[in-house]
Symmetry: C2
Subunit: 309 residues, 2 copies
């Protein structure tokens, strides 16, 4: 079964005759006949009832036509999705679980007519992401770049702040406190696997641990979120840090606790990078959406000193 066969079938169904469909498709009537015959042979049903004045849909044809059209539409969409030129806005969200992805998803939910794709640039740091935005691989990227250090041609706007929370198992000494100060975490073991050196995450946690004297173990292999959560649930000493908007631990079958950090609250600042002057309407709408629902920066927050604040 071939797409061209479906296209041909749809054309015949629409025009009512093989010859007209052939003209529409720019092939001969005989080719149309062959395609339809092959399609019918493949499906083992008769799709079109041939009369002396054309063809009309058989019962199976009636049923099949909307399906055929759906396939063709999906095809069209698939091509549009990647064809350079007029493709949907493409936003790098770093990781599908964390706050930017959630924010983009919420934006899409409230504006379903906006066509956009959320992707993850793999294995890249902020500078490489900026390069990807510049060369058009993506149209925007959430990164923790200081706003005033954006490369030439890149506009940066801080649109999303993610306050940090401590994630611990039920046996952890801090499991039942209402909140905790970063300074109180000194001496506790904090494990954040999967952070690659050279990335902005590494820099952020580096700055955090230096500022509050923490011992953050950001190295080690990442065996996946499930493994991390299992380890947290079982351990009385292990803890990790997550953004308050992150969608970790889902489904919530581990009895894990999120403990807000306060006095001060470390926030991870997500800055939206885009090409300077990019007027893409969906990009504009996304920016507007984030500005209104955007970073509520309460007093007493901490950000790395290399972030403009």
């Amino acid at each position: 079964m071939d797409v061209e066969a479906l296209r041909t079938f749809a054309a015949v169904a629409e025009t009512g005759q093989f010859q007209a469909a052939a003209d529409e498709l720019g092939i001969s009537q005989q080719a149309v006949s062959k395609r339809i015959a092959a399609l019918e042979r493949h499906l083992e049903v008769t799709l079109l009832v041939r009369t002396s004045r054309g063809s009309r849909l058989s019962l199976d044809g009636q049923v099949f036509l909307p399906h055929a059209k759906k396939v063709l539409a999906a095809f069209e969409q698939a091509e549009q999705a990647v064809r350079p030129g007029s493709r949907p806005l493409r936003v790098d969200v770093l990781n599908r679980r964390i706050a930017p992805a959630q924010a983009v998803y919420r934006f899409y939910r409230s504006h379903p007519e906006m066509s956009l794709d959320a992707v993850t640039l793999s294995n890249e740091n902020a500078a490489q992401a900026a390069q990807a935005v510049l060369d058009g691989t993506v149209d925007a990227s959430f990164r923790a770049l200081p706003v005033d250090q954006a490369p030439a041609g890149i506009s940066a706007e801080r649109l999303l702040d993610a306050p940090l929370e401590l994630l611990v198992g039920p046996g952890h000494p801090l499991a039942d406190v209402p909140w905790v100060s970063p300074a109180d975490l000194a001496g506790h073991r904090i494990w954040i696997p999967g952070i690659r050196p050279g990335t902005e995450w590494a820099a952020f946690y580096q700055a955090l641990s230096e500022a509050f004297g923490l011992s953050i173990d950001a190295l080690g292999p990442n065996f996946g979120d499930e493994a991390l959560m299992d380890a947290l649930a079982d351990s009385a000493s292990l803890a990790t840090l997550v953004g308050s908007g992150d969608r970790y631990l889902w489904p919530q079958n581990h009895d894990l606790r999120r403990i807000p950090l306060r006095e001060p609250t470390p926030v991870y600042t997500h800055v939206l990078l885009s090409r300077t002057g990019d007027q893409h309407p969906v990009l504009t709408a996304l920016r507007d959406h984030l500005r209104t629902s955007g970073p509520r920066t309460p007093d007493g927050v901490w950000v790395p000193d290399w972030i403009d604040r």
Copy 2:
């Protein structure tokens, strides 16, 4: 762009290597390479990043993959929709506007998981429809066959009664009465275009006009519902008959009136024909649905004497 190319791409994306995808598809690694290359050439993007230990999705590949899968799923569905054997229940509703179609649609709305198709057997009478049910062209058909005259192998159950209503324009003498008796229509001109001789509709209206001395003009070409409604709206003498559940006149931009018929109320009895012993679960569910929401037969109804009542 070919479906096989999409299938190949999905296989490579899943397995991460060309060779594994080739094994899965039962072709050579080189063929996979060619298909992917052709697909990428067609789309003018790189879908897969080749490494020395396999391939992973590029950014465009990430975006394209769900679209490709959607196309493949639609393809699958299209085949299932008509392939003899395990296809959805197929119900003949005569005409998409009238009561059976509405009832089937309501059923589908309340049971979206049930897969069924509503089709229209064209140019057929009740006997031919019964034959179509017998030979499996359709699984069920709404017809006005006397229940006790169903052919061998056909089960018939009266599951839907459609009381008749008079449809008139604002200038018609009966435009503002609350209801009207069929006998009062004697002398009025009733036009029901598009009824073909030999069909059960013709027999029904024939019986109706004989029973009450009406002059029903059931002949003449049918220029479409719009033309009929235009004629009704403009005429002070023209009227037509419709079922109370029919979805005529939509959008309701003509100021037409529906006048119920009473004393007695003629009802068009829709009988569901199906193969005796057909255990299709969707068919069973449809029958159950119609039985509960089914024919409320108030007193004082009229049906043709050839309908068992």
